[in-house]
């Protein structure tokens, strides 16, 4: 289970060979290792955000999804780079695997925003309802009612989806807009308005592709030539606009009175309205993909209207009473649509078109198209103010048309119409009518969960939402894992990634230590099981208590099953509507999140076995640890002797900023150290004086003798390679201690800077002179102590690897002080690990010593902090 450490077995043996790395090489390796760890935590953090986003109903856009994908990928690529630099030539295959996964991600992101080829322009006569993907719903419906119902519609044409894509792609405009959205961030309305202006400017500055400009010009030539040429209404007909789910009502631009020579600018303006602040907000909140938005543009001859208006084939609000409503004004109907004009209205019974109510209002003015194409408001002739805009027979005619359109599309319709001076009725627009259902009352989703139960544990960190109940089963060993029953609550000291193999079976997860953005938390979210990570005292409190309810909403664990909490969490979790953006995110997540490489011992634990970016992070992390500790990495030159009253020989290599600038070439005093990491470690090492090796009983001594005969490094003459040379590698916030005490080999490393994502402490330990049983007993003892202070620990036999990451500088200092105490005070105690009594004694004295060391740290750190 802990193969990292298998390699550590070779550590001591490796040193007896002459293959020693130069200090420079070692420094490079540690630096690469540090950067790899930083990239690892960043990648896992964003993975956690993405998993959370996929299940939440918080709005986000495709550019955000893309940015997150790229951020994870960039972190993972960085890890690969660092690993390859740590050991040139060995891990190059990872790059190929990474590129393949990235390509698959691209494919998943692109689907839903497919591109194709086709006509740039379609004349109205050729358009049918089936052309929605090409010309948008608005134009498709008009084409359909003209062709199949024989209704009059204005002459015109559509500038198609292909035209839009050609404009976006061949000019680089799409990249530029995506870039502007990406760097625009997720700001408020002010940023959105700035973004709108920037995108508009970019669109205005972009010339239309030549073939598109030509196609638009020749389409205009077929239109009716009148005095001064035809005037066009240029209208948005975006893909997805006017659909049942998303009306985009009134968000995009319509331009009236456009002359053919102005059509290019009109097209640009309508396209730009796709990126208005309101349209972008609407899209974001509806979860629509901005990269799938396509603006088709309808161009229709202006109708010289004597009257016009709107028909709703159902009452738009409240109960359907079997009526339809027609409203009308004199002149163009634009005043009705934007709500600025008072209009006449008739309520008709749908089945026999009997007029139920008529309301004729007093009107002062009307809109007409002037000679130059502009829309002007003019006063009505005196005496006409109270005349109905249309005679009653036209009301009936409109009612019949409305019923035919509704029957044809089989859904309530919102129809815009106009009547020309010859009395012809034209349909200007028809779209599904959104009918407001009665608002139903539900519980407030933000109200706090109420429960009467007293928690066994509270204030735990939620790593995956939900609530559920189950039998608590503690898992520590490989055997525990095999016996883990279906549907139990998984209880563990540490959130080790290996546990992810159990999560499909588990009802919930509770771990004392670990990160809510770690591997295991990610997997818990993926399976949707509630998880609490960072639950102090969980193992002691919950072991053997039977059935508990784990509630990630309250951060509590309760004795027994509490159905009310579980139901409540289910209700909260219920988010029925899945938006397009969420769908896209869910498509790409399988390339990123699932962790299949859980067992580093398994044959598939290799680059080719990586199926997701998460797998690659896990593989890189594991291998980097191997590389870091597999090789004998002791530097041999550039070292300064640490002087003072010291029990052992220590050497120090300053990799920059670790010591006072004034210090000697060959020697350095403790008071000249400037590295907080080293000072914390040193405080831990020296707070309690070492009493020397423990008295060895006969069995322990015999075991040492036995080992000596087995290990060539212990033979006379090999003394140098096992010499008591201990190296500190120090930088401003960095410290790496490689020490060897007799038969023991140990590495402590820590980085304690301002950025918690880069901070870490590592403790790695191997060896001993006693037999395996005693050595393993000591490793277990040390593991227990380290875990109490938040380290994630893996042990294998007598080898141990512990780490703690992503914490503040002071927490790293404390961890280093704990490690420092253990480094000094556990040497050679393996020899006395024969009985439970001795174990208990050491457990107590080490625990006490750690407390002393931490107290000393608290006392001394203000002093050296002032000095540094």
């Amino acid at each position: 289970m802990q193969p990292i450490l298998k390699t550590v077995f070779n550590f001591i043996r490796g040193t007896s060979g002459g293959d020693r790395e130069a200090p420079d090489q070692f420094l490079r390796k540690s630096e690469n290792f540090r950067l790899l760890l930083a990239a690892n935590s960043r990648a896992l953090e964003v993975m956690a955000e993405m998993t959370e986003a996929a299940r939440s109903d918080r709005p986000f856009g495709m550019s955000h999804v893309r940015a997150q994908c790229l951020t994870v990928a960039s972190g993972v690529r960085q890890m690969i780079e660092r690993l390859c630099l740590m050991r040139p030539g060995r891990y190059e295959e990872l790059k190929t695997v990474f590129n393949r996964i990235l390509q698959e991600m691209e494919r998943e992101l692109a689907s839903g925003a497919e591109r194709g080829v086709g006509p740039l322009i379609m004349p109205m006569e050729a358009i049918r309802a089936g052309d929605v993907p090409l010309v948008g719903a608005k134009m498709a419906h008009l084409g359909e009612v003209a062709a199949l119902l024989g209704l009059e519609v204005p002459a015109g044409f559509s500038i198609t989806a292909h035209a839009y894509r050609l404009f976006m792609e061949s000019t680089g405009l799409e990249d530029e807009i995506n870039r502007l959205i990406q760097i625009g961030g997720n700001g408020g309305l002010r940023e959105l308005h700035r973004l709108e202006a920037e995108i508009r400017h970019a669109i205005d500055m972009t010339a239309l592709p030549l073939e598109l400009a030509q196609a638009m010009r020749s389409a205009c030539e077929f239109l009716d030539e009148r005095d001064g040429g035809p005037r066009l209404a240029v209208r948005s007909s975006a893909l997805g606009e006017d659909s049942d789910e998303n009306s985009f009502a009134g968000q995009f631009l319509s331009l009236l009175g456009v002359r053919p020579e102005e059509i290019e600018d009109a097209f640009r303006s309508v396209v730009a309205s796709l990126f208005s602040a309101t349209a972008m907000t609407y899209r974001l909140n509806r979860g629509l993909r901005e990269d799938a938005m396509v603006m088709c543009v309808g161009c229709m001859e202006m109708v010289d209207a004597s009257a016009g208006g709107v028909i709703y084939t159902r009452p738009p609000l409240g109960e359907d009473d079997g009526s339809l409503v027609i409203s009308a004004v004199q002149g163009l109907p634009c005043g009705i649509v934007d709500g600025s004009s008072r209009s006449d209205s008739w309520k008709l019974r749908r089945d026999d078109l009997h007029i139920l109510e008529a309301e004729i209002v007093s009107k002062q003015c009307r809109y007409v198209a002037a000679q130059d194409g502009r829309i002007v408001r003019e006063g009505l002739k005196p005496g006409c103010e109270s005349e109905p805009s249309i005679p009653e027979e036209v009301v009936h005619e409109l009612g019949r048309i409305a019923r035919r359109i509704e029957a044809h599309f089989n859904t309530p319709q919102d129809i815009e119409w106009a009547r020309d001076p010859d009395g012809r009725l034209l349909i200007l627009q028809c779209r599904p009518l959104s009918v407001c259902a009665q608002a139903h009352s539900g519980r407030d989703p933000d109200s706090p969960v109420k429960t009467s139960a007293t928690p066994l544990l509270s204030g735990c960190m939620s790593a995956s939402p939900g609530a559920t109940a189950g039998q608590v089963v503690r898992v520590e060993t490989a055997e525990d894992m095999l016996c883990f029953p279906e549907g139990a609550v998984l209880l563990a000291r540490n959130a080790r990634p290996q546990l992810s193999a159990l999560l499909p079976k588990a009802a919930a997860l509770v771990a004392e230590f670990g990160s809510t953005v770690g591997h295991l938390a990610n997997v818990a979210r993926e399976y949707g099981i509630p998880a609490l990570i960072g639950a102090p005292g969980a193992v002691e409190t919950l072991s053997g208590v039977g059935v508990v309810t784990v509630n990630a909403g309250t951060g509590g664990v309760y004795l027994g099953r509490h159905q009310d909490q579980i139901d409540d969490a289910d209700e909260r979790r219920d988010t029925p509507r899945v938006s397009d953006v969420q769908r896209a995110l869910r498509r790409v997540l399988p390339k990123i999140i699932p962790l299949s490489l859980t067992d580093p011992e398994a044959p598939e634990f290799r680059p080719g076995g990586c199926a997701s970016l998460h797998d690659i992070t896990r593989y890189c992390h594991e291998m980097a640890v191997n590389e870091m500790f597999l090789q004998d990495a002791r530097p041999t030159s550039r070292a300064k002797r640490l002087h003072g009253d010291l029990p052992l020989q220590y050497w120090l290599v300053d990799i920059g900023g670790g010591t006072a600038e004034s210090c000697d070439e060959g020697r350095v005093g403790v008071d000249e150290i400037r590295s907080n990491a080293m000072l914390a470690l040193w405080t831990g090492m020296t707070a309690v004086p070492w009493e020397g090796p423990p008295p060895v009983d006969a069995g322990g001594f015999m075991s040492v003798v036995f080992q000596a005969t087995q290990n060539p490094a212990l033979a006379p003459g090999a003394a140098n390679s096992m010499g008591e040379r201990n190296y500190f590698m120090v930088g401003g916030n960095y410290c790496n201690l490689q020490s060897r005490f007799g038969f023991h080999f140990c590495t402590v490393e820590g980085f304690a800077g301002d950025d918690p994502t880069e901070n870490h402490a590592l403790f790695q330990f191997k060896g001993g002179g006693a037999d395996q049983g005693r050595r393993a007993a000591r490793s277990r003892l040390i593991a227990d102590l380290l875990e109490q202070y938040g380290f994630l620990v893996e042990t294998r036999g007598d080898a141990l690897f512990a780490r703690i990451e992503g914490i503040g500088a002071e927490a790293v200092e404390q961890a280093l002080a704990v490690a420092g105490h253990l480094v000094v005070h556990t040497r050679q105690i393996d020899m006395v690990m024969a009985d439970a009594q001795a174990l208990a004694r050491y457990r107590e004295s080490l625990g006490k010593g750690i407390r002393t060391a931490l107290k000393r740290l608290e006392e001394t750190s203000p002093q050296w902090r002032n000095r540094t």
Binding site: C69, L102, L180, E758
Partner: protein
């Protein structure tokens, strides 16, 4: 600590101005270039510790610029900072020796720490 000599390459003048102002307070000597050719010329004549390079620029693009810089100063770390969330740019950029790939918008701190990483890596491990 030694001051960091940074070359910031971006075609957006606003970006250059903003970041120059932010970085001078932070122990950074900053030079700017508004295009690839200009960046390469500067690398040819001046010693830098790190380059921050926009990838989507008119004229010489980011990749060509990166390769040009690497040809002159193979060990000079180059951080790609782009508003273009493009996986191809990530792949080819890293394969051409970029130190890292960041997406705009980036916080000043985040960029500064990345610069420190790049410079630290180079200084601490200089042959």
């Amino acid at each position: 600590m030694k001051r960091i000599r940074l070359l910031l390459v971006d075609d957006e003048q606003d970006f250059l101005t903003t970041y120059t102002r932010r970085f001078v307070r932070r122990n950074v000597d900053i030079r700017t270039a508004s295009g690839g050719a200009e960046a390469i010329e500067q690398v040819r004549t001046t010693e830098f510790d790190v380059v921050v390079l926009d990838f989507l620029m008119p004229g010489m693009n980011g990749l060509e610029t990166l390769r040009g810089i690497k040809a002159i100063a193979p060990k000079l770390p180059v951080i790609i900072l782009t508003g273009h969330a493009d996986s191809e740019a990530l792949c080819t950029g890293m394969e051409s020796g970029a130190f890292d790939y960041l997406l705009k918008p980036v916080g000043t701190d985040e960029l500064y720490f990345k610069i420190l990483d790049a410079v630290g890596m180079r200084r601490r491990t200089r042959d």
